[in-house]
């Protein structure tokens, strides 16, 4: 058979409770392939709280510590401090939180962890809404998206506000390393994780996790949609290492955002004007990213 392009070892077990086609499970799977088994994962309230299955089973082959919704950043700091005191210096501490648990309720603790320079990894898996509780909008929900709290009706046409730029917020804290990763590009994902593992200091990942029930698409399209997110520049793949930006993947000509938006029911109500607005916004952000890459 062809050589495997990502490590063979599975540290995520089968029999977990994720929806069919769940992007968040692939995020965990690729993360753990990159980190290996000397890892402790701390998880706040989010889809993965449930995906990991109820007592008495667990879906990971590494220790998992549940923590409070707001507090992932603090949990990472606590684990790191204890690990250092107990002589477990080679153990990687990872916080694995959803978008709501990071950009909204978890922002303060994340900021604290970064500011304290905690030697740990914070991974935000982004399905762009509070999915575990049934698709309510979060600060990471993209502009225009339908959710249960930004429905489409006479007085409401999806989320009004733009998506919070978590990478910009994280970058302002000058982490040792930050990167966007996408389940549609597993080799890039694993490579970045392996790179981060070897770096000391606060590290952050923004992982795109397409969600069939929340984004309203048929489950087999998860990877295709993930791919389109990057190829339309809606979710560019890049790294920030010691303040230096490096884009991981550049198409000669990006695909139009419409190709991405039309795959998902949550955007079905958008009119041409709204799509044009989104295109303009994406183009501006891409230009800005290119400029950031240009800065030495």
């Amino acid at each position: 058979m062809a050589r495997l392009t990502i490590p063979a070892e599975e540290l995520m077990r089968p029999g977990h409770s994720a929806c069919p086609g769940c992007g968040a499970t692939l995020v965990m799977r690729y993360l753990l392939k990159g980190l290996g088994n000397q890892t402790i994962v701390t998880v706040p309230a989010c889809c993965w709280t449930v995906i990991a299955t109820p007592f008495p089973t667990t879906a990971l082959d590494v220790p998992m510590l549940d923590c409070a919704f707001e507090a992932t950043g603090a949990s990472i700091s606590g684990l790191r401090a204890a690990a250092d005191k107990l002589g477990l210096k080679d153990v990687t501490i990872v916080g694995f939180a959803g978008d709501g648990g990071t950009v909204d309720i978890g922002l303060q603790a994340l900021s604290g962890m970064l500011e304290r320079r905690t030697d740990g990894i914070y991974l935000m898996y982004d399905n762009e809404a509070y999915m575990n509780t049934g698709v309510q909008r979060s600060g990471a929900t993209p502009e225009g998206a339908w959710t249960t709290t930004t429905p489409v009706d006479a007085l409401s046409h999806g989320k009004v506000e733009p998506k919070k730029d978590i990478m910009a917020i994280v970058a302002a804290h000058r982490p040792a390393y930050a990167a966007t990763v996408n389940v549609a590009f597993p080799e890039d994902f694993v490579k970045k994780v392996q790179k981060a593992k070897a770096i000391r200091g606060p590290r952050f990942f923004h992982a795109l996790a397409p969600c069939p029930p929340g984004w309203r698409y048929s489950s087999e399209k998860t990877i295709e949609i993930g791919r389109l997110a990057t190829d339309t520049n809606i979710f560019p793949l890049y790294e920030i290492e010691d303040g230096v930006y490096r884009i991981s993947r550049k198409l000669g000509i990006a695909k139009p955002v419409r190709e991405y938006l039309q795959t998902q029911g949550r955007f079905a109500h958008l009119d041409d004007k709204q799509v044009a607005g989104i295109q303009a916004e994406v183009d501006a952000r891409w230009k800005r990213l290119l400029a950031l890459e240009g800065l030495a």
């Binding site: 029999g15 069919p20 008495p56 089973t57 597993p186 087999e220």
Partner: protein, 91 residues
């Protein structure tokens, strides 16, 4: 799997230690993937993108669907470039 009927059987703290493999999620699916080994090029893409750890390999390196776990999401069928996988309705 350990049975936790009584308080005395529970661990003192809420610690789960049984691997989730005991949960067979086969009943979740409506369609199951069928791989045509004549078309399959053993590229491993189905294994790479499966969210449920439901793709194993046989002695010759061909993918084998672990039907205990496959939820029928069809990502494998969608991503298989030679189109060796078809989704067949479960009876």
């Amino acid at each position: 799997m350990t049975s936790y009927e009584m308080e005395e059987d529970l661990p003192e703290a809420p610690i789960a230690t049984t691997p989730s493999d005991v949960n067979h999620t086969a009943s979740w699916r409506t369609f199951r993937p069928v791989i045509d080994l004549k078309i399959c090029t053993k590229c491993n893409v189905c294994w790479k993108f499966c969210p449920d750890d439901a793709v194993a390999f046989d002695g010759e390196g061909y993918p084998v669907i672990r039907l205990d776990y496959c939820k029928g999401c069809a990502i494998c069928a969608e991503e298989c470039r030679p189109k060796a996988i078809t989704m067949v309705k479960e009876e």
